[in-house]
């Protein structure tokens, strides 16, 4: 087991390294940089001033030198300074993390709470109108653009009851109730979307397991139907569901980009879009790496859970 974890961590690190090069390269590919944007907020361009600012920000050095500098900074725990805000990147990123994390976790909870029971019902009542209705409902969530759903919710609210959830972030310590209201709608919107995949996997793995011989045997032995399902089947269907939850988590973060924008929540995802538009390299690079780390760690955790739950699985064919 230990070698397994060590191997996975090693691979994870390699992957991160590769990703850092990809992100670094792509960003530099993008036309225009922070200096261009600073000038555009000034409404003019001056080549002499431009050179001075580039020097100040270290953008005049060769690209590979900048990359190595970034790597060195990460190794010493320094995330660099935001080009736009002139402040340490960590200082700016830190308050965003709990918001996105909370939104992601709440959405995940909603998606599991919605997806698993619906999947079970759908599997048990396979091919009945209820099954179809539930599958359509679930698939609708997957098909709607999450920003559209969010927009419709907000505009509908303000049109009908003249109220919208708070547009400034309310922390739980400030006002728990208001905070709950603020996070409820976006988590529901995102969670509804993610629940589709979980429902589908729950349903199909449950169906598969239900066909297994030993289930039939248990039934033949006379154990009551629901006991059979809930105890035996669910235990074995957990495996793929856990895998999917892990995949979903990464998928979620993508959806959070637009949700945070529409609901005006100060999270990582929304900030990332801004930082990309501003070519704020330190912020974009470090944020993207952070997201990548979260994704890799969650994949690792899921794989480990998988390995723990199913002793037949091991790394390497």
């Amino acid at each position: 087991m230990k070698t397994y974890i060590a191997q996975r961590l090693g691979i994870g690190l390699l992957t991160l390294l590769g990703m850092s090069i990809v992100i670094f390269g792509m960003l530099r590919l993008a036309p225009g940089d922070i200096v261009d944007i600073l000038f555009s907020t000034g409404g003019y361009v001056n080549p002499v001033e431009r050179v001075a600012i580039e020097k100040e920000l270290g953008l005049d050095r060769p690209v590979w030198v900048q990359y190595l500098e970034w790597m060195r900074q990460i190794l010493t725990g320094d995330l660099g300074k935001s080009y736009r805000y002139d402040l340490p990147a960590w200082e700016i990123i830190r308050p965003l993390i709990p918001v996105t994390l909370e939104l992601a976790i709440l959405s995940l909870i909603v998606s599991v709470a919605l997806g698993v029971p619906l999947g079970v019902i759908s599997a048990v009542r396979q091919d009945t109108p209820l099954d179809y209705a539930l599958r359509v409902f679930s698939l609708a969530g997957l098909s709607m653009p999450s920003f559209w759903l969010g927009m419709v919710i907000i505009l509908g609210l303000v049109a009908w009851i003249g109220w919208i959830p708070p547009v400034t972030y309310v922390s739980p310590s400030e006002n728990f109730w208001l905070h709950a209201v603020q996070f409820a709608l976006p988590s529901l919107a995102v969670g509804y979307r993610s629940s589709a995949l979980i429902m589908r996997i729950t349903r199909s793995s449950l169906l598969e397991v239900m066909r297994e011989d030993y289930i039939r045997t248990a039934r033949a032995k006379g154990q009551s139907g629901s006991v059979v399902i809930w105890r035996h089947a669910l235990q074995n269907a957990i495996l793929p569901v856990v895998t999917v939850i892990g995949i979903e988590f990464a998928f979620l973060i993508g959806g959070l980009v637009v949700t945070e924008t529409v609901f005006n929540l100060p999270g990582l995802a929304r900030f990332l879009v801004e930082a990309i538009l501003w070519r704020d390299y330190p912020i974009v690079q470090n944020l993207v790496m952070f997201i990548a780390i979260v994704v890799i760690v969650s994949n690792l955790v899921v794989d480990m859970l998988y390995g723990f739950l199913d002793p037949r699985v091991r790394y390497g064919h």
């Binding site: 261009d36 000038f39 907020t41 409404g43 100060p266």
Partner: protein, 534 residues
């Protein structure tokens, strides 16, 4: 008939009550908090001198003071409405060659340091990039406002003299702009990018990036009894729909200058009839820039044809739903002092009957060798922002009617200015915000030879002479006439055909009192005179 005494008493009691309530409606109340809309996060914090965007200037207003400002309780921005902030008195001397300010005493910076003439000299030496300036701005967009300043003298702590190279009556008004606050001499200018040390009515308490800016009342503000409010919050909401919904739902009390279109205002009014909506001009114009250094737009006839082809009234109707007014290069009356009158506008390209205008355009193009057999294909660059794109789409349609095939090219904000600067464009639509309704600020910035904001790279000796001439003209009537001639000339040269001047439907909730929008989005919002009635 004798009225009973009870009725008498009742009537007089009513009269007293009525008088009292009327009076209380006028008497400002102290205390309270306001939430103002902020359309995007501050570009460079509170470094007003390093940006040219209202995203920085509006939320910075409460922090700073100018030497002089336009009266924040009156709408019109004229010389008569100038009010002293850090300057108590001022006077022109030596035939508008020297501008003397007598500064206010006992004014403190937010960190407790005293304000003196040193701060004024520091600020303006830095702005004009004087050779011995103690500090330098990283980006200095309004350097050309001060090219005429020879020296700034601060002989004693409460007197400042601006010595000019030649008479320039317009300089005073330029100092009243929201873009001309006074920086502290003891603070590194770069520090304004992250925080704000000013002398203004509010102290900056917290700037949570991407979320809001919080201000608290400055107890040591030089105006006794001001500000009325205890605190302010500028709430950052980038998403347009969410922003409007927040205003409608009462989570925001004040709209962002320039962000409320006519249609949005109608919608808001319908949903919340009590909202107070004031249509004002923004001092923001839409115009067309053309690269005058390369074909085909180096040819005056082609440029003029473009100007003729665009039906200004239709554009205002289509792109702004009527929320704009036609005008030439100065903001038209009654919103601006210098603008041409309606009757003079009618003679300019794009204002007459559309068929005549189009015929004229086609004639001009034919003279330039462009016919249906030899059509003109150009690329229209526009910023990747909805309003720009809408306008460009409209213009492209108009150009199609006279035989110019333009295809749209979206340019990201990051690139557009550098591309314009390098001349890597043919034609594009553009937005120009004027910091103040003063021809010197306008023409030196946008039409002078070699000015970095002169995106068309238009250069005409004749026009330069006209600009210089009007800048030195001391007689107001004569100057008006000179500026009128300048406007006509610039349109005749089609250097930067002007399309319209935008209106803003500034919206506040009814309990917000004393917030008077100006006909210029950059010069109001000091917030010292604003109070809450609830």
């Amino acid at each position: 008939m004798r009225r009973s005494r009870i009725v008498d008493a009742a009537l007089s009691a009513l009269a007293v009550l009525a008088a009292a309530s009327l009076a209380s409606a006028e008497t400002p109340k102290s205390g309270g908090h306001l939430n103002l809309m902020q359309r995007e996060d501050l570009s460079q914090g509170f470094a007003v001198h390093e940006t040219s965007t209202i995203a920085t200037s509006f939320p910075s207003m409460p922090c700073f003071n100018n030497l002089v400002v336009f009266d924040q309780t009156k709408r019109a921005e004229t010389v008569e409405n100038l009010v002293g902030e850090l300057a108590e008195k001022w006077s022109w001397q030596d035939n508008y060659r020297n501008l003397v300010f007598f500064l206010r005493r006992n004014v403190k910076w937010h960190d407790g340091q005293p304000f003196t003439s040193k701060d004024v000299k520091f600020t303006f030496d830095m702005l004009r990039e004087a050779p011995d300036a103690p500090a330098k701005l990283r980006i200095n967009p309004r350097k050309d406002w001060y090219t005429n300043v020879e020296a700034i003298e601060a002989a004693d702590p409460y007197t400042v003299v601006f010595r000019l190279k030649r008479p320039q009556p317009g300089l005073l008004v330029m100092l009243a702009s929201g873009y001309t606050p006074i920086y502290a001499a003891h603070v590194n200018p770069a520090a304004y990018r992250t925080g704000c040390i000013g002398t203004g009515p509010f102290k900056m308490k917290e700037w949570r990036k991407g979320e809001f800016v919080d201000y608290v009342k400055n107890p040591d503000y030089f105006m006794k009894g001001r500000p009325y409010l205890d605190s302010l919050r500028y709430v950052v909401i980038k998403e347009r729909g969410t922003r409007t919904a927040a205003l409608q739902a009462g989570q925001l009390d004040v709209s962002f200058p320039g962000e409320t279109t006519k249609t949005a205002a109608e919608q808001l009014k319908k949903a919340v009839p009590g909202l107070v909506i004031t249509p004002v001009a923004q001092a923001v114009s839409d115009n067309i820039i053309m690269n005058t250094k390369k074909p085909p737009f180096d040819n005056l006839k082609v440029r003029l044809a473009v100007s003729y082809a665009i039906d200004r009234k239709a554009l205002i109707s289509a792109v702004h739903q009527g929320g704009a007014v036609p005008g030439a290069s100065q903001q038209p009356k009654p919103y601006g002092v210098w603008g041409l009158l309606e009757k003079d506008l009618g003679t300019l390209p794009g204002y007459g009957k559309i068929e005549d205008m189009r015929a004229q355009a086609r004639k001009l193009l034919a003279e330039a060798g462009i016919t249906p057999q030899n059509p003109l294909k150009v690329e229209m660059s526009t910023r990747a922002i909805a309003l720009y794109v809408d306008m460009a789409s409209f213009v492209i349609n108009e150009l199609k009617q006279v035989g110019i095939e333009a295809n749209l090219k979206q340019v990201e904000t990051a690139q557009c200015h550098s591309m314009a600067n390098r001349g890597e464009y043919q034609i594009g639509d553009n937005l120009t915000g004027l910091g103040v309704d003063e021809p010197d600020a306008n023409y030196y910035e946008n039409y002078a030879c070699g000015s970095p904001r002169n995106y068309s790279q238009y250069c005409s000796e004749e026009v330069m002479k006209m600009i210089e001439q009007q800048s030195q003209e001391l007689n107001p009537q004569k100057r008006l006439a000179l500026v009128a001639a300048l406007q006509k000339k610039v349109e005749a040269d089609a250097a930067r055909p002007l399309l319209d001047w935008r209106l803003d439907y500034f919206t506040v909730w009814p309990y917000v009192k004393g917030m008077v929008p100006h006909d210029n989005i950059y010069n109001f919002g000091r917030m010292a005179d604003v109070w809450r009635d609830k």
